[in-house]
């Protein structure tokens, strides 16, 4: 019986991972131009980016997912539950990732910019070859921390019927009336998935930090 519960909840792992990864990639990519706008020399771009970050950090993820899935999805732009949750969580992830990038940007030594200028590197090359590789390295620990947070946030997908860990746990709890062990197992899975992410981040962080000019 208990192994059935265990396997039943485990069946949700792939969708939990899919939602997390998709929302993370969405946010990590969209966060880059957002960060560039945030530190732009044009006040209007800075203002728009700041507005985006403050707004998307002030709306509950669950509500935003509902806005897309039920709101936009009902009549305006039809979308699947998966698309709705990835869009909602992804847009919030972009706001948070842009702040992580911005923090990392300020940690990169000013001498790196000066050296790039002194070597007469084109701006594009200075960004892509000098700043960007270091940016990714510096931001890795916070990024990994945020990815773990996103993993837990992905549980929201269960509220719009995506059969992830939490959804399966809820289903089995209703079937067996054994909510206590079922949800404890669900929590166990989330913790077990987040441990390797944190460990991997620590290991790669050490390696990458050695290749950082500070």
């Amino acid at each position: 019986m208990s192994s059935e519960i265990f396997l039943g909840v485990a069946r949700g792992i792939p969708l939990t991972l899919a939602v997390t990864v998709a929302a993370f990639v969405f946010g990590a990519v969209l966060g880059l131009p957002l960060c560039a706008m945030r530190v732009s020399k044009f006040a209007s771009l800075r203002f728009v980016a700041l507005g985006y970050v403050v707004l998307f950090r002030s709306i509950p993820p669950l509500l935003l997912v509902f806005v897309f899935y039920f709101g936009l999805g009902s009549g305006y732009i039809p979308m699947s539950a998966f698309q709705g949750v990835v869009l909602g969580l992804g847009l919030i992830a972009a706001a948070n990732m842009s702040e992580i990038y911005r923090g990392a940007l300020s940690a990169i030594h000013a001498g790196q910019w000066e050296a790039a200028t002194a070597l007469a590197l084109p701006v594009r090359s200075a960004y892509l070859d000098v700043i960007a590789p270091q940016l990714l390295r510096v931001s890795l620990p916070s990024t990994a921390g945020y990815a773990v947070g996103l993993l837990k946030e992905s549980a929201i997908a269960s509220t719009i019927g995506i059969a992830d860990i939490t959804f399966n746990a809820g289903y089995i709890a209703r079937m067996t009336y054994q909510g206590l062990p079922v949800f404890a197992i669900a929590a166990f899975f989330y913790i077990m998935i987040s441990l390797p992410i944190a460990a991997l981040a620590r290991a790669t962080d050490k390696k990458l930090r050695a290749r950082l000019a500070l």
Binding site: V54, L55, R57, S58, I59, P60, P61, L62, L63, L64, F66, V67, F70, G71, L72, S74, G75, Y76, K152, E153, S154, A155, I156, S158, T159, I165, T166, A169, G170, A173, R174, Y177, Q178, G179, L180, P181, V182, F183, A184, A186, A187, Y190, I191, S194
Partner: protein
Amino acid sequence: MSELLGFWIASLPQLLGGLVVSLKVTGVSLVIGIPLGLLLALGVQSKTRLVNLVSLLIVEVGRGAPALVVLQFAYFGLPSAGLTLTAFAAAVFALAWNTGAYTSEIIRAGLESVPYGEIEASSAMGMLRSDTLRFVIIPQGLRVAAPPLLGFATQILQATSLCFAIALPELTSNAYMIGTTSFRYMEILTLAGILYAAICIPATLAVGVLEQRLGKHAL
């Protein structure tokens, strides 16, 4: 446009009723959770093994498990252990646990920011350890922790939306309910979003101001 405003005005009382429930859950969770966070912060540093282990377990599970799972654990799970909670009590149970686990880290960082020289000075003056904690470390540590704690409070207000899953009539649940009867999801969910933002945006800006003010006095 005026049609939309009419719909919003007609739905506003029900949404505001939901917002009051959200704020109540947030308030009670913080009132229980932040002192719990202080206890956990002290417990994690404790030299007594049992206290240390129990504190670590509470913190790690509270931070490692999604709030939505803890919430359903409390509401759908605890009854099978003979403890039936109302939706409100289950919400407070889950969010206070969440608050305690996260704020313990914030408070610990605050307590550790108190310079070691002050602790040495206290012991040189013959102060008891408990008095040092009460009069020297905690007042200064909590001041440092204040801005991130306020920031965390907005996170908890947002987390109350998860109570949709246990049918607590808070802001998101009420908005969804109006949506199902009127089929005007977009309009009503947008209004709910505006209400959340109306509280969280000023609070976020206040955190920034608070940080700057405290930064002036530090060092």
